[in-house]
């Protein structure tokens, strides 16, 4: 038996044991998820005792397959994406043992939703410009400031927070990273309505919010390094899934073309096909990226894929409006709602067009991504920096 086979055999027996003691048909969802975590079958690449077995990440898909075949519940990963994708790996990398044991289990089961408190009105692309201040008061930090673009803040139990703890040193060196209790009376969450009419995000106002020092992640002043680890995980998460041809935006437009001969005009055809080809190549580039990762050749393609995704989703949704003509002048609903998740393909063409405008801003603007590619991939000279060595308090803003 190869190592691979023996690992699989072992995993299979663990899954069987879990299912034997917790029949999915009769077990409460949360109880099942907790048991799965405790059996090390939540994320097998995490350490034992923290929901994993210390195996390679790639083995998880086998476990998920087996559980799914047995009708086991899942932890609704899209709903708790920030916790899974950003908070958890950061806690694993920088958290104390106490922090790991306290936070990871309810994070994974979805009992506790997480949000991310990084961006500020004055710190967007320049995230290291965060001005939210945390001042030490004995064993507690007193936090004042404003965060923005916080999805799920209104549902969240905890937030990962980047705050300035030392304004007298250069900006990258004076930040620390905290776990913020979203139920603290100093934390106020307000919906942030956006261009589509809905409020997918929030603003979070911190007024004398209190955070015990035991909820600091990483050393004082090391916040930038910890935050970068978080963001690295965010980027890895993008484009991770294989999808069939004509998934997403292009599929909608292609189907419109097929189903509705009256919208077909020769003057649209070449553009339709260009976008079709680019969409298909973007999809296949995802496959190529996964093949590279599997072959142990991690590459810088992630930034490029996000750039392309944003551009295509904007161009295709724009073209769809053109195709629809008068129908494109109608909108589904401007009422301010607070959706838990974005549904890019479920609503009308106008909604997709508007929402897609955010794709080149959220999670790193296209401009910042081009800088990254130019500097880190192509090795071109970095932007001149005037703020790097100045104390933060002296930088113009």
């Amino acid at each position: 038996m190869t190592t691979e086979e023996s690992v699989r055999a072992d995993l299979k027996s663990r899954v069987t044991a879990l299912l034997d003691t917790h029949d999915p048909r009769s077990t409460d969802r949360l109880e099942f998820l907790r048991a799965q975590f405790d059996a090390g079958l939540a994320w097998v690449h995490y350490p034992e005792g923290l929901g994993g077995l210390g195996l390679a990440r790639s083995h998880q898909s086998y476990v998920t397959e087996l559980l799914s075949a047995a009708g086991a519940p899942d932890n609704n990963p899209r709903r708790i994406g920030i916790g899974l994708g950003m908070a958890a790996p950061t806690i694993l990398a920088y958290g104390t043992a106490e922090q790991q044991h306290r936070f990871l289990r309810p994070l994974w089961t979805g009992e506790e939703v997480w949000c991310q408190l990084f961006s500020e009105p004055g710190a967007g692309s320049d995230l290291a410009a965060v001005a939210t201040r945390a001042v030490r008061d004995g064993d507690t930090w007193i936090v004042n400031g404003q965060k923005v673009w916080t999805s799920q803040a209104h549902l969240a139990r905890w937030g990962i927070l980047l705050a300035r703890t030392d304004p007298d040193v250069p900006k990258h060196r004076g930040m620390s990273y905290f776990i913020c209790d979203m139920q603290d009376p100093g934390v106020e969450v307000r919906p942030l309505r956006q261009i589509t009419g809905e409020a997918e995000f929030n603003e979070v106002f911190l007024s004398e919010a209190r955070i015990p020092d035991t909820q600091r992640l990483g050393a004082e002043g090391e916040g930038w390094r910890v935050a970068n680890a978080t963001l690295m995980n965010e980027r890895v998460a993008i484009g991770g899934n294989a999808a069939p041809r004509e998934s997403g935006m292009i599929g909608i437009t292609a189907q419109t073309w097929r189903d509705r001969p009256e919208v077909r005009r020769p003057e649209y055809h070449d553009q339709l096909m260009s976008l079709w080809v680019e969409s298909e190549l973007a999809r296949l580039s995802g496959t190529r990226l996964r093949q590279k990762l599997a072959a142990g050749q991690p590459g810088p393609e992630g930034s490029g894929m996000k750039l392309t995704f944003a551009r295509l989703s904007q161009q295709i949704s724009g073209m769809q409006l053109q195709l629809l003509g008068g129908e494109g002048l109608r909108y589904s609903d401007w009422t301010m709602t607070r959706p838990d998740l974005v549904d890019m393909t479920g609503r009308d063409a106008g909604y997709r067009y508007l929402r897609a405008k955010g794709n080149s801003i959220e999670g790193g603007t296209s401009e910042i991504l081009r800088n990254i590619i130019a500097e880190r991939v192509l090795g071109l000279e970095p932007e001149p920096r005037f703020d790097k060595d100045q104390p933060w308090k002296d930088i113009p803003r």
């Binding site: 961006s119 261009i195 003509g325 008068g326 002048l329 109608r330 401007w334 405008k357 920096r385 005037f386």
Partner: protein, 369 residues
Amino acid sequence: MTDANLLYTDVETALRESVRALLSDQCPAERVADCYDGDSALATRLWRPLAADLGLAGLLVPEERGGAGASAREAAVVLEELGRACAPVPFLTSAVIATRVLLGTVENGLLSQLAEGQRTAALAVPLATSPHEYSPTVQESGDGALTGQISGVAGALEADVLLVPARRGGELALHALDVDSVTVTPVVSLDMTRQLADLDLNGATGRRILNGGTETVLSQALELGTALLASEQLGLAQWCLDATVAYLGERIQFGRTVGGFQALKHRLADLYVRIEAARTAARYAAGTEADRDPDRHVAALMASTYCSETAVAAAEECVQLHGGIGMTWEHPAHLYLKRAQADQLALGSPQVIRRRLGDLVDLPMPTSS
């Protein structure tokens, strides 16, 4: 065909200033956004001072028929300002298109009421209709009753009178109907600053105001709308550029004003160049229209396709270069993006217009291959 004055005359500049002064006073962006939440108070409040006090409603009506006897040039400057303010008023639909329709009839009474701002009218065709592709959906029965639906009509919600083209046998005639005789259903629109409505005529009757030549009058009115909508798009694009340049000149990231980053500077330079070409297009369309220059048909289509795409490009750059704040409801950029996109779909998409232009300048799309 190049004699048209492509600059702004002193009279036009003075008119612009008075419109801009009124709009900056009475049409703040926060109130415009209320249109999206079903509050149309602003639209109602704005129209009277513009239409009657400034006399914009009668701009295109000759003095002998009760108007100001101005030309498409002045109307274009007004539309630049309305675009710049994203103002929710029925100037294009009533004072340009419906007025142009009535100028093709002998309806002097209604025309002078429109010119004075006492009443407001709308041509009952879908906003997306391109001037050369209109096909009527209303039938007139033997007793003069009109039946049919017209979807996505702009200006109908603000109108007192609807001008309805209807077919009877092989003939197209035009009817003036009191808006109350028609079922008008508001449409949740991509651009709520020019909200659409669906019309249902279920045996309504009005007055027949035009028999022969209705097709010609309609296509002239829609062509005029196309030519002048370009100026609205120009004004809109200019606002987007100005707002973006101003914001990037203030916004600091990485210890520098964001407007100093060369990649953004180059994009804004390109946008500036594009907007200046759009200005040429819009002025040429207005000027040739005012002069009844035979090139006005080509000019209208050029302006339509170029200004449509320029306005959308400007609004998209405006949102993108504002970053997160440009995606929010509280910043006005979204109003302009929606208006630009809706304007682009109005009166024919750029591609549809370019195809038509090919016919006019003997560069036809091949009919088969």
